[in-house]
C-alpha cells in the first residue's frame, strides 16, 4: 500500500497521514500521563491519609528534611523544563541540530544535577543519620512510629520521582542520538514534543512533592 508515495522520516505504516501519526502520538502520551497521575495519586492519597492520622509526627518528620536543597532542586528542575521547551522550539523553527543538541544536553545536565543533589546532600545524609526505614533506622529517641511512616513515604515518593527522572534521562539520550542523525526537521519533531510532555510532567510531580513533603507543617 505504501510504496506509491514517498514517506517522511519516522512515518509508520499503520497511519494514513503524518498528521494522524502526530495526533496519535500526542494523545498516547497524554493518556500515559493520566495513568501516571493515578499511579502517583495512589501514593499521594496514602500520604494524605497518614498525614491526617499522625499529624504531629508528620510535621516532626518534615523538619528532618533540609529545605534549601529541596528549593535548589525545584529551581534546577524548572530550569530544565525551560531548556527542554527551548529544544523543542529550536526544532520547530528549524535551528541547527547543534542548537537542539545543546539544549537537550543542558536539560540532561540539569536533570543529572537534580539527582546528584538528591543523592549526595539528602539521601546520603539521611543514610548517615539513620533516617531510612528498613535500611538504616535509628529507632531510639524522638523517632516515633509516625516519623518512620513519614520517612517511608518521603523515600517512596521521591524515589519513584527520581526513577522517572532516570527514565527521562534515558529518553533524552535517545533524542540526542536521533537529533545527531538528522531525524528531525521543522516538519517532523513529534518525538521531541512528546518526550517534552513527559519531562514537564515529571517536573510538575516535583512541584507537588516539594511543598507536600518539605514546606507544609508549620515550619514557617
Amino acid at each position: 500500500m505504501a510504496a506509491t508515495h514517498a514517506h517522511p522520516p519516522g512515518f509508520a505504516h499503520q497511519f494514513e497521514t503524518v498528521e494522524q501519526q502526530r495526533e496519535a502520538g500526542h494523545l498516547g502520551m497524554w493518556i500515559f500521563l493520566a495513568t501516571e497521575i493515578l499511579f502517583f495519586g495512589g501514593m499521594f492519597t496514602a500520604y494524605t491519609v497518614y498525614r491526617s492520622l499522625h499529624l504531629p509526627a508528620f510535621i516532626q518528620g518534615s523538619h528532618e528534611l533540609i529545605v534549601k536543597f529541596g528549593a535548589t532542586n525545584t529551581a534546577v528542575l524548572i530550569c530544565s523544563s525551560l531548556t527542554m521547551a527551548l529544544a523543542i522550539r529550536s526544532a520547530q523553527t528549524g535551528k541547527s541540530k547543534r542548537t537542539i543538541i545543546l539544549w537537550l544536553l543542558l536539560t540532561m545536565a540539569l536533570g543529572a544535577a537534580f539527582i546528584a543533589i538528591k543523592l549526595r546532600y539528602e539521601w546520603y545524609r539521611d543514610f548517615v543519620e539513620g533516617l531510612i526505614p528498613g535500611v538504616s533506622w535509628l529507632s531510639g529517641g524522638t523517632h516515633t512510629p509516625g516519623v518512620k511512616m513519614f520517612m517511608c513515604f518521603y523515600f517512596f515518593m521521591t524515589g519513584l520521582h527520581a526513577l522517572h527522572m532516570v527514565v527521562g534521562l534515558g529518553i533524552l539520550t535517545v533524542l540526542v542520538i536521533m537529533t545527531a542523525r538528522d531525524r528531525f526537521s521543522p516538519g517532523y519533531y513529534a518525538p521531541l514534543e512528546i518526550s517534552g510532555l513527559y519531562w514537564h510532567f515529571v517536573d510538575i510531580v516535583w512541584i507537588f512533592l516539594f511543598p507536600l513533603l518539605y514546606l507544609i507543617g508549620g515550619r514557617y
Binding site: G28, A34, G42, M43, Y50, L53, V135, G146, K148, M149
Partner: protein, 554 residues
C-alpha cells in the same frame, strides 16, 4: 463497504496469502507487530492460564465433596483457592476479551491497518508473559494462601508463602493492561476509517473504549498498592501494620478502588461481544444504539465510585456505607438498559440458534441472575448476613463465568471463522454450549443456597448438613470442565480440517466481514469509506441471502 459481492457467488475460498501464512517460523510470531497475530499470542497465553486456574478450581470442588475435605490439608486448600482466584482474575479474565478479541477485532472493525502503536502492543504481550511467569513461579514454588485480595496484615506480616513473587507478577501484568488500554483508546480515537463516526462504531468498540478507560485510570492504583504491599513485606516499615500506626483498611480502599472497576473490565467487553452476537444472529439493528453505547461509558464511570460496598462490614463509617450502597444500586441502571435493549433487539428478530447465539442467550440469563443478586449484596442489611458466604461466590461467578466467560466463548465462536478461516463443527459447538450452561448452573446455583444458609467461603471443611448441595456443586463443576474441554478440541481440529468459512459465514454486517478470512496482513486493500450505520440489517432482504442462517427458519 455497502456491498460484499465476493460472498454472493460461488464457493468461498481462502485467500492465498493471509496473516497466518504470510511468514513462517517462531521468530515471525515472537517478533510480529501484526495486531491479529498478537491477539493469537494472547489467546494461547490466557488459555494456558485458564487451564491452570481451572485445574485449581476442579481440585477445590473435588476436595469439598466431603465435609471434612477429601484431598488436602487445609493449608493446601488455602493455596488452591488463592491460586484459582489470582490466576483467573488477573491473568485470565482481565486480559481475556480485550487482549484477544479486542486486539484482533478493533482495527478490522474500525477500518484500520493496525492499532496505533504496534510495537507497544507487542511489548504489552511480553510484559504480560513476564507477569505470568512470576505468578506461575510463585504458584509452583509453593503458592500463596492470602486469597486473591492480599489483605494485610496477614499478607504483609504473617503469610509464609510466595506473596512477593505473585504480587510482583500482578504488578507487572498491570502494565500490560495499561499499555493495551492506552493503545485501544488512541486507536479508536485516531485510526477510524473515513466515515466511521463515533455513532457508527460497532458497540463492541464502545465497550472496549469504556474498558480501556478503566485500564488506564484504575490499573495504576493497584500497581502502586501492590508496590506498597511488597515494600511493606520486604522492609517491614509498617505502612499497613496497625501495631505501628499503619492502616490495613487503607489497603482495602486502594485495592478495591481498582478491583471493583476491574469487575467491569471483565464484564464490559463481554457486553460488547453480546451486542455483536445478538444483532448478527437475529439480523436486526440494535435497539437503542446510543443508550447501549452510553451505558458502557456510564458503567465505567460509576465503577469508580462504588468500591466501598466491598467494605460494609470492615468498620467503615455508617454514612460512607449508605452512600456506597446507593451508588452501587446505580450500576443496575445501565446494566438493565443493556439487558432490556438486547431483549428488544431479539424481539421479532430472525433468530438463528447458532453456537454464538446460544452463548449470547446464556449470557443474558446468567448475567441477569448475577446482576440481580448483586443488589442483595449492595443493600447494607442483607450484606451483613450474606457477606463472606458462598452467596457472594455464587454471585460473582454468575457475573464472571456466566457473564464474562460465556461472552468470551461466544465471541471466540463468532469470530473464529475470521480468525482461522475455518468453521468448527456446529453440532459440537451447540452441544458444548448447552453442557457449559447446564454445568455452570449446577455448580453455582447450589452455592447461592449454601451461602444463604450460612456456609462461609474459603473454608476447607463444612458442616455435614451442607454436603448434598456441595456434592451437586462439585458434580456441576465436572460437567462444566467437560464443556470447556470440548471447544478446545474442536477449535484446534477445525484449524486444519474444518470447512473453509469464506469472508462472511454469518452474513453479518461490519467491516471485519467485508475482507477475506483469514484477513491479509494489511487488513484492507484500500481503506474503506463507511457510509452507513452499524448493524444496518433491514437492508438485507431474505431473498438476497437464501442460505443465510436463520432465514430458512422464519
Amino acid at each position: 463497504m455497502s456491498t460484499t459481492t465476493a460472498d454472493l457467488h460461488g464457493a468461498p475460498a481462502e485467500p492465498a496469502v493471509n496473516y497466518l501464512n504470510a511468514s513462517y517460523g517462531i521468530k515471525s510470531w515472537l517478533l510480529t507487530l501484526d495486531h491479529k497475530r498478537i491477539g493469537l499470542l494472547y489467546l494461547g497465553t490466557i488459555t494456558l492460564m485458564f487451564v491452570v486456574g481451572g485445574v485449581a478450581a476442579t481440585l477445590m470442588r473435588l476436595h469439598l465433596v466431603e465435609p471434612q475435605g477429601a484431598l488436602f490439608e487445609p493449608e493446601t486448600y488455602n493455596k488452591m483457592f488463592s491460586t484459582h482466584g489470582i490466576i483467573m482474575v488477573f491473568f485470565f479474565l482481565v486480559p481475556s476479551i480485550p487482549a484477544t478479541l479486542g486486539n484482533f477485532c478493533i482495527p478490522l472493525m474500525i477500518g484500520a491497518r493496525d492499532v496505533a502503536f504496534p510495537k507497544l502492543n507487542l511489548l504489552s504481550w511480553y510484559i504480560f508473559v513476564t507477569g505470568c511467569a512470576f505468578a506461575l513461579y510463585g504458584t509452583v514454588a509453593g503458592g500463596v494462601d492470602t486469597g486473591w485480595t492480599f489483605y494485610p496484615p496477614y499478607s504483609s506480616l504473617y503469610a509464609q508463602t510466595h506473596v512477593v513473587a505473585v504480587a510482583l507478577g500482578i504488578f507487572i501484568a498491570g502494565f500490560s493492561s495499561i499499555l493495551t488500554g492506552l493503545n485501544f483508546i488512541v486507536t479508536i480515537h485516531k485510526m477510524r476509517a473515513p466515515g466511521m463516526t463515533w455513532f457508527r462504531l460497532p458497540l463492541f468498540i464502545w465497550a472496549l473504549y469504556a474498558t480501556s478507560l478503566i485500564f488506564v485510570l484504575g490499573t495504576p492504583v493497584i500497581a502502586i498498592t501492590v508496590f506498597l504491599l511488597g515494600l511493606e513485606r520486604l522492609l517491614h516499615v509498617g505502612i499497613f501494620d496497625p501495631a505501628v500506626g499503619g492502616d490495613p483498611l487503607l489497603f482495602q480502599h486502594l485495592f478495591w478502588f481498582y478491583s471493583h472497576p476491574a469487575v467491569y473490565i471483565m464484564i464490559l467487553p463481554g457486553m460488547g461481544v453480546i451486542s455483536e452476537l445478538i444483532t448478527a444472529l437475529s439480523r436486526k439493528k440494535i435497539f437503542g444504539y446510543s443508550f447501549v453505547a452510553f451505558s458502557s461509558l456510564s458503567i465505567a464511570v460509576i465503577s469508580f465510585i462504588v468500591w466501598g460496598h466491598h467494605m460494609f462490614v470492615t468498620g467503615q463509617a455508617l454514612y460512607a456505607g449508605l452512600v456506597f450502597s446507593v451508588l452501587s444500586f446505580l450500576v443496575a441502571i445501565p446494566s438493565a438498559v443493556k439487558v432490556f435493549n438486547w431483549t428488544a433487539t431479539l424481539y421479532r428478530g430472525s433468530i438463528s440458534y447458532e453456537a454464538p447465539m446460544l452463548y449470547a442467550l446464556g449470557f443474558i440469563g446468567l448475567f441477569t441472575i448475577g446482576g440481580l443478586t448483586g443488589l442483595f449484596l449492595a443493600s447494607l442489611a442483607t450484606d451483613v448476613h450474606l457477606n463472606g458466604t458462598y452467596f457472594i461466590v455464587a454471585h460473582f461467578h454468575y457475573i464472571m463465568v456466566g457473564g464474562a466467560v460465556m461472552a468470551y466463548l461466544g465471541g471466540i465462536h463468532f469470530w473464529w471463522p475470521k480468525i482461522s478461516g475455518r468453521m468448527y463443527p456446529d453440532m459440537w459447538a451447540r452441544i458444548s454450549a448447552a453442557i457449559i450452561f447446564i454445568g455452570f448452573n449446577l455448580t453455582f446455583f447450589p452455592q447461592f443456597m449454601l451461602g444463604y444458609l450460612g456456609m462461609p467461603r474459603r473454608y476447607a471443611v463444612y458442616p455435614a448438613e451442607f454436603q448434598v448441595l456441595n456434592v451437586m456443586s462439585s458434580a456441576g463443576a465436572s460437567i462444566l470442565g467437560i464443556g470447556y474441554v470440548i471447544p478446545l478440541v474442536y477449535l484446534i481440529w477445525s484449524m486444519r480440517y474444518g470447512p473453509v468459512a469464506g469472508p462472511n459465514p454469518w452474513k453479518a454486517k461490519g467491516l471485519e466481514w467485508t475482507i477475506p478470512s483469514p484477513p491479509p496482513t494489511e487488513n484492507f486493500e484500500e481503506i474503506p469509506i463507511v457510509t452507513e450505520d452499524a448493524y444496518n440489517y433491514p437492508a438485507i432482504e431474505a431473498h438476497q441471502y437464501p442460505d443465510a442462517p436463520g432465514v430458512a427458519r422464519v
